[in-house]
Symmetry: C2
Subunit: 247 residues, 2 copies
């Protein structure tokens, strides 16, 4: 029973996130439907490295599934990409060892969050950015972002209903890149809690707006209370850039 | 009768280009309608620096129009951008001398054309790029692009039905920038004939595909025959970046 690994690009704008839910259009649901249509057989255990939320994009999400018969992977890639045109594309498909699991084996991920920091609303980047017309203390935000690097308890930035076993995560890189009109928050970590990146961005923006005074994100980590931190940033600015595996 | 200059960003995907035409949705038509709705009076002589084709985008198109009463420009910017949400935004609006004319006075323009050069189709850049799955001799294309710099007769790259008085134009910059998965053709010129940038890109791609053998774009200019050059590149990859004025 071959185990197939997919690398996926998707625009999350018109999906209710990755995970199958009744009566709504999800990436997992659409992909499973189209894979089964192309393969003419049941697809088992389709999972991704993580469940992206409604509106969140991916440049290179990793997923895997099992099938009974080894398909023509080149043909599968073309068929699926053509059926889910403009919304989901398979960038790569290959047979991997049976033990490979896209979620369990992921050791590192990068997310990017783009803020469009200009008075006028975005047009060419619509659906891909969070529009903030300012003013923001960008220098302060740039100083705070790297303070999250390290191993911390991220309860303060954990979305409600998160089923993670542990709230301790390791962040390897955390920075705000200023390239007007964009402010891009880029973060690399061992894993992320539900809405963690969006909660961090929401808090960085609140700091940039002068809320919380001199309080630093390091002190906020100590709060271990989601209600004290800022609102979750809009989903549209977020993109899962890549996922790395051990070995 | 104040003369108002606008700087506009637009996504050309769902428009039949800039210029008003009967029974189709155009940027000029929509903008005029919405400006008159916001101002409560007729708008006269709305024109842009040039007429972008159907599907072509602009990051900073320049336009101007006359009104009887000087409006609150801040309010106008917000109202128009909110009514043409996600499709057209006014980035700047100001009163300019009565003599200013967005088309006649333009002295320099930059266009960018983005090719998405990868086997799988674009998703996050859908509607903003021309997808080419290869193979292309990118090195050759990079060498040819700058040969167009200078003052030349561009009849070879002129779209049919172009009403320009002269086919001689000056190109100041012409280069292909390689940033995988993108190949971006960037060109700065005194002015451009109808579909000139798309015809140049179509020809560069044909050269990259080995069509035309060793024939260079310099020899092609001598042909002065549109039919001998390659197909027009898709409109979606093209964006008017900026327009400069004398003085």
């Amino acid at each position: 029973m071959p185990n197939i690994r997919l690398i996926l690009e998707y625009n999350g704008q018109n999906f209710h996130g990755w995970q199958v839910q009744p009566d709504v259009r999800t990436i997992q649901g659409e992909l499973q439907r189209v894979l089964e249509m192309c393969l003419g057989e049941k697809v088992r255990g389709l999972q991704a490295s993580g469940r992206t939320d409604a509106g969140v994009h991916a440049a290179a999400q990793v997923a895997h599934f099992h099938v009974d018969t080894l398909p023509d992977l080149g043909k599968l890639v073309r068929s699926v990409s053509s059926l889910l045109k403009n919304e989901v594309a398979i960038k790569d498909a290959r047979v991997v060892p049976d033990s490979f699991h896209s979620m369990r084996d992921a050791v590192r991920k990068q997310y990017s969050y783009r803020i469009y920091y200009r008075p006028h609303p975005p047009v060419l980047d619509y659906g891909r950015v969070w529009h903030i017309s300012g003013p923001l203390d960008v220098e302060r935000m740039c100083k705070e972002a790297p303070l999250l690097v390290g191993t911390h308890d991220f309860t303060t930035f954990q979305g409600s209903g998160c089923g993670a076993r542990t709230t301790v995560k390791t962040i390897y890189e955390s920075e705000l890149i200023v390239e007007p009109p964009y402010l891009t928050y880029r973060v690399v970590g061992s894993g992320f809690l539900k809405q963690m990146v969006r909660n961090i961005v929401g808090t960085l923006v609140a700091l940039g707006r002068g809320r919380y005074g001199d309080t630093s994100v390091v002190e906020m980590l100590e709060w271990k209370d989601r209600r004290k931190a800022a609102e979750t940033a809009q989903p549209y600015g977020l993109c899962l850039d890549w996922v790395k595996y051990s070995g």
